[in-house]
C-alpha cells in the first residue's frame, strides 16, 4: 500500500502541475498566441497546434483525475472492488484514446517534417502510452475475476 500512496502523491502533484498549466494558458493567452503565430508557418498543423496541445492536455488531465479517484478507492476499499474496476476501465480508455490520438498526429508530423529522428522516438513513446492504456483495460477485466475469488474466499468459513 505504500507504493500506491506514493503513486497517489505523484498523481496529485501532476494534477496541480496541469492546473497551473491551464492557468498559464488563461493568464498568458497573448504570449502563447504570439509564439504560435511566429512558429505556425514552420511546423505541421500551424496555428492549430496550440488548440491540439490544449485538447490533449485536457484529455490527460481527465485521465489523471480518474486515476486519482481509482487510487483513492483502492487505498480505501482494496484493489478487487467493482468501483475500482469501473474507474480503471475508464482510465484505461482515456489513456488508450490519448495514446492513439498522439500516435496519429505524430505520424502525420513524421511524414511532413525534416526532424524525423526525434519524431520516431516520440512515436515509440505514444505507442507505449496506448499500450499501457490497453494493459489497464485488460487488468480491469482481470480484477473482476479477482473480485469473484475474493468474494468466494470471504464467504468461506
Amino acid at each position: 500500500m505504500v507504493k500506491i500512496k506514493i503513486l497517489l502523491g505523484i498523481i496529485t502533484l501532476l494534477i496541480v502541475v496541469y492546473i497551473l498549466h491551464f492557468l498559464s494558458y488563461f493568464f498568458l493567452a497573448d504570449y502563447f498566441a504570439e509564439i504560435s503565430k511566429s512558429t505556425e508557418s514552420k511546423i505541421v498543423f500551424g496555428k492549430y497546434n496550440l488548440v491540439i496541445g490544449l485538447i490533449q492536455s485536457i484529455v490527460i488531465f481527465f485521465g489523471l483525475i480518474i486515476s486519482f479517484k481509482c487510487m483513492y478507492e483502492i487505498i480505501k476499499r482494496g484493489f478487487f472492488t467493482k468501483t475500482s474496476k469501473k474507474l480503471m476501465y475508464v482510465a484505461g480508455i482515456i489513456f488508450l484514446f490519448s495514446g492513439l490520438v498522439a500516435l496519429s498526429l505524430d505520424s502525420i508530423r513524421l511524414f511532413n517534417s525534416a526532424n524525423q529522428g526525434t519524431l520516431i522516438g516520440i512515436l515509440f513513446m505514444d505507442f507505449l502510452l496506448a499500450l499501457i492504456g490497453f494493459i489497464i483495460l485488460i487488468i480491469s477485466e482481470m480484477s473482476c475475476i479477482g473480485f469473484e475469488i475474493k468474494s468466494e474466499n470471504d464467504l468461506t468459513i
Binding site: 507504493k3 503513486l7 501532476l14 484493489f79 526532424n115 529522428g117 526525434t118 515509440f124 475474493k150 474466499n153
Partner: protein, 168 residues
C-alpha cells in the same frame, strides 16, 4: 477475451519494431562514429546531436543511451512475456506477479537513469551541469510504481486463489 489477443498482437509489433530500431542503431552508431558524419541519436523522445564532438565523449554518451534503451527493451520483453502468459488463461500466478515486479523496478530505473544520463550528456556536450525534470522521469516512475503495486495485488490474488483451491 478478444481484446487480449489484440493487445498481444500490438505488443509483438511494438517489440519487433523496437528490436529492428535497436539493431539498426547498433550497426550504424559505430560506423557514424568513425566516419565523423552528422548524426543525431533519438533517446526516449529527445534528440541528442553527437556531431563533431570528441570520440570518447560520443562513446560515453552512446553507452549511457544504449544502457537505458537496453533496460527499456528488456521491460517491453517482460510485458510481452506476461501478456503471452495471460493469454494462456493463467491470470493470478506467482510468475506474473514476479514479472510485474521486475517491470516496475526496470521502469523506475529507466526514469531515474534517463534523468542522470541526460545530466551527464549535457555535461559532456555543453560542459555545464544542468538538472531538468521532464515527462520521461514522471511517466516512467508512475508506470514503475503502478506495476510494483500490481505485482503486490496479483501476489495477494494468487494466495487467495490457492486458499480457495485448497478449501473443500
Amino acid at each position: 477475451m478478444k481484446s487480449l489477443s489484440i493487445l498481444k498482437t500490438l505488443i509483438n509489433i511494438y517489440y519487433y519494431l523496437m528490436l529492428i530500431a535497436f539493431s539498426i542503431g547498433l550497426i550504424t552508431a559505430p560506423i557514424l562514429l568513425l566516419t565523423q558524419k552528422k548524426y543525431d541519436v533519438s533517446f526516449l523522445g529527445n534528440t541528442i546531436d553527437l556531431t563533431g564532438i570528441a570520440i570518447w565523449k560520443s562513446i560515453i554518451a552512446l553507452i549511457l543511451i544504449g544502457g537505458i534503451l537496453f533496460l527499456y527493451f528488456k521491460s517491453i520483453q517482460l510485458i510481452k512475456n506476461s501478456v503471452n502468459h495471460i493469454s494462456k488463461g493463467a491470470y493470478f500466478t506467482e510468475y506474473l506477479a514476479g514479472n510485474f515486479k521486475k517491470i516496475g523496478k526496470l521502469f523506475i530505473m529507466i526514469g531515474i537513469g534517463a534523468t542522470v544520463a541526460k545530466m551527464v550528456i549535457t555535461l559532456l556536450l555543453e560542459s555545464q551541469i544542468g538538472f531538468s525534470l521532464d515527462s520521461t522521469l514522471f511517466v516512467f516512475i508512475i508506470l514503475g510504481l503502478f506495476f510494483l503495486f500490481l505485482s503486490e495485488a496479483f501476489e495477494k490474488a494468487s494466495q487467495l486463489k490457492k486458499e480457495n483451491e485448497l478449501t473443500i
